[in-house]
């Protein structure tokens, strides 16, 4: 594609815009890259003022923990081959083995099996093999790049971060499922109803979206703490204390998320032609049957995108979880506050860094897989105004 000469850019402009883009990419990725590097180093290296010693970690190498050239090359090769497999082989195997109507569970199982295989090869088989190789190869086998996973081990095993991980998992899975179920129905109803009431519901939802979450939590706290007494006349002795219960937090997060969810799903449903369900109605379907058999098969792109954003809201939430859950069933993000408030020794600090990296690693994968959906979700609401 060649553009007309007048539209071509002068050299200076192209150079400066390339420079600007490079600068932005550096700015966007650097802090994240840097904490990932820090999390693998000894505290002295991690907080060194010389960037090179943070990257190469001389102190970490000096204690014999590091990667040799051989290890780096082999590790990189394995990583590259994994990505290659994931992009080429995995989709083919999944589509061959699963019938089309089970494609979503098929993908989930495929991804889990693939991830497990990778973890076994990369962390189970590779280190002993490389250990033997390094001892045989002499100078090439000497560690040059400091790397230690001890902070991750400390965080996940000793400090039982996996408990927080499980809590996060429960809450995010709950929020995504419930808010999509409720939101899809409402979004469909709102998209297909031209009534004035639907308009007002959307406007009120917009107002609700702007509310600070702390305002709402101030409303939840007293009833949640005393819920056992409040609910006793209705539920008898089985009345629960809502404070500290994950499912209560799920209900809260689902509701806080509802305004956004119904706005987004409504705009996706509006893109599905009305003729589809009208045809089904003519053939004698009720609205629910039309929704079940005609709309549901075609709505998945919109639902997946909305689900991603519900996931992010629940996963990233600090305020609601930290106030409504107690220390025993805290999720990952508020739990990390415990680390950096404690930060008494530099080891604690690096452990906090490792915990932080553990939290954002799944998000990194998420963008890699769902970049297209995220972008379409961001623009869906906006471009239509």
């Amino acid at each position: 594609m060649s553009s007309p000469k007048s539209m071509q850019q002068p050299m200076a402009l192209r150079l400066s815009s390339a420079g600007f883009l490079a600068f932005w990419c550096l700015l966007a990725s650097f802090p994240i890259f840097w904490i990932a590097v820090m999390s693998f180093k000894d505290p002295i290296d991690a907080f060194a003022s010389n960037p090179l010693s943070v990257i190469f970690g001389p102190e970490t190498v000096a204690t014999g923990r590091g990667l040799s050239i051989v290890s780096i090359v082999v590790g990189a090769a394995v990583l590259w081959y994994t990505v290659h497999l994931a992009v080429t082989k995995l989709p083919r195997v999944v589509t061959q083995l699963t019938p089309p109507e089970l494609i979503v569970p098929g993908w989930i199982i495929g991804a889990v099996v693939f991830a497990l295989g990778f973890l076994i090869v990369f962390f189970g088989i590779l280190p002993p093999v490389l250990g033997v190789l390094n001892s045989v190869l002499g100078p090439l086998g000497k560690p040059i790049l400091g790397l230690t996973t001890e902070h991750y081990q400390a965080v996940w095993a000793e400090n039982a971060f996996y408990e927080n991980f499980i809590n996060s998992l429960i809450i995010t899975v709950g929020v995504v499922t419930v808010s999509l179920t409720v939101g899809t129905l409402a979004g469909y109803g709102l998209a297909r109803s031209g009534s004035s009431l639907a308009f007002w519901i959307l406007i009120v939802a917009l107002v609700f979206r702007a509310l600070p979450h702390s305002v709402l939590v101030a409303g939840y706290l007293p009833p949640f703490i005393n819920s056992a007494e409040i609910l006793r006349p209705i539920l008898g002795e089985a009345a629960p204390t809502l404070y500290g219960k994950p499912w209560a937090v799920i209900a809260v997060l689902v509701s806080i998320n509802q305004p956004f969810t119904i706005w987004m799903l409504r705009s996706f449903f509006q893109n599905i032609p009305n003729e589809l369900d009208e045809a089904a109605r003519v053939d004698g379907c009720t609205h629910f049957q039309a929704f079940r058999w005609v709309i549901m098969p075609v709505m998945w792109p919109g639902v997946i995108t909305t689900g991603l954003f519900s996931f992010l809201l629940a996963y990233n939430d600090y305020l609601v979880c930290s106030l409504l859950l107690d220390a025993q069933n805290q999720t990952m993000v508020p739990a990390i506050a415990g680390y950096f408030n404690r930060e008494t020794t530099t080891t604690d600090q690096v452990e906090a860094v490792a915990a932080a990296v553990s939290i954002i690693a799944p998000l990194f994968l998420l963008i890699m897989i769902f970049q297209r959906q995220i972008v379409s979700g961001l623009t869906a609401g906006a471009v239509k105004g």
Partner: protein, 341 residues
């Protein structure tokens, strides 16, 4: 679609929103006029210590909370009117400070301090987010097709990662003798500690927010740029418009609705600024309105939460939201009425 089916579809969602958004709002409003406090009683306590030849006994009056049958502290709820609001706003001190034109002492009151920071934060980051987002969108749009995918991927990183962690990751670059501080010290040849005074933390917080939200603005503007009318651009070229004029008179007007959209979303979101305070641990220097409510809701050393004051501060925060939303709602209302006529 008749009313019954509509209700069946929308019902669950409306129920959730009423129960967990509308009802708490009303209850916060009510809570702000009442305080719950333990009932105290004054009792005479005789404490005796062994002594010789007689015990030494002291009788003293003690104030202690009354315990109910289940061993819990009995509490009463008392109507206090606007007292909680007065406690939060401290109008006497604020007024005295205003009269003396002494803004320093006005800003020692938590609420005014939080309000000052929240407003500055919102208004300073807004143009930066729009500007940076637009600049990235335009340059990416001019770049070769091949590198657009990776750039969008990298740009999404700051937007998607957990806000608290994003703030932390920037904090760790600057903390102590972190590499950015070391770099700045080498560059400016002076001692720098970013976390020893308020304004540097404030700068970092604003930087973080722009870093975090600019990708969102970028993606939206980039999508908008795809729909710019090429014919208009070409005719502008034929009319001899320079690159800058084309941007100013063709592209920006086309993107105007999106700029308004981003501004609104950004105003709503940065008015709720909270995660930065946690991430940068800035509560000693800078607090925001939402953090003020959060702090009042967190149990203090004796395990009490000042629900009433928190509710008052929450209601005061709401005023800002209302001010923000009224123009938007008026416009929507006019469009809605206009659309039907």
């Amino acid at each position: 679609m008749n009313a019954k089916t509509f209700a069946a579809f929308v019902g669950p969602s409306i129920f959730l929103m009423l129960l967990f958004i509308a009802a708490p709002l009303i209850s916060v409003f009510m809570q702000s006029f009442y305080i719950t406090q333990p009932v105290f009683e004054t009792v005479q306590v005789e404490t005796c210590t062994p002594g010789f030849p007689n015990q030494t006994c002291v009788t003293e009056e003690k104030v202690q909370p009354v315990l109910g049958e289940d061993g819990k502290v009995i509490t009463t709820v008392k109507y206090v009117g606007l007292e909680s609001y007065v406690n939060v706003l401290e109008p006497d001190r604020a007024w005295a400070a205003l009269k003396a034109l002494d803004f320093g002492s006005l800003l020692t009151i938590d609420f005014w301090k939080a309000l000052r920071f929240t407003l500055t934060f919102t208004l300073v980051t807004l143009p930066l987010v729009i500007g940076v987002g637009l600049a990235i969108a335009i340059t990416v749009n001019n770049a070769t097709r091949m590198i657009r995918g990776p750039i969008i991927f990298i740009s999404l990183l700051p937007f998607i990662i957990t806000p608290v962690i994003g703030a932390l990751s920037i904090r760790w670059l600057f903390i102590g003798d972190g590499i950015m501080t070391a770099f700045l010290e080498w560059w400016l040849a002076r001692d720098i500690s970013m976390f020893a005074q308020g304004w540097t933390i404030e700068l970092l917080m604003m930087f973080y927010r722009v870093w975090h939200v600019a990708p969102f603005a970028f993606v939206v503007f980039y999508a908008g740029l795809q729909t710019v009318n090429q014919d208009t651009l070409e005719s502008a070229v034929i009319d001899g418009a320079s690159r800058w004029e084309r941007l100013r008179y063709v592209v920006i007007p086309h993107l105007m609705p999106l700029i308004v959209f981003i501004s609104l979303i950004h105003l709503m979101d940065s008015y709720r600024v909270f995660e930065e305070i946690v991430g940068f641990s800035s509560q000693a220097y800078r607090i925001s309105l939402q953090w003020l409510t959060y702090d009042l809701l967190t149990p203090d050393d004796s395990g009490n939460r000042s629900i009433s004051r928190a509710s008052a501060s929450a209601m005061l925060t709401m005023i800002g939201i209302v001010v923000l939303l009224v123009p938007l709602l008026r416009k929507t209302w006019r469009d809605h009425k206009g659309g039907r006529v």
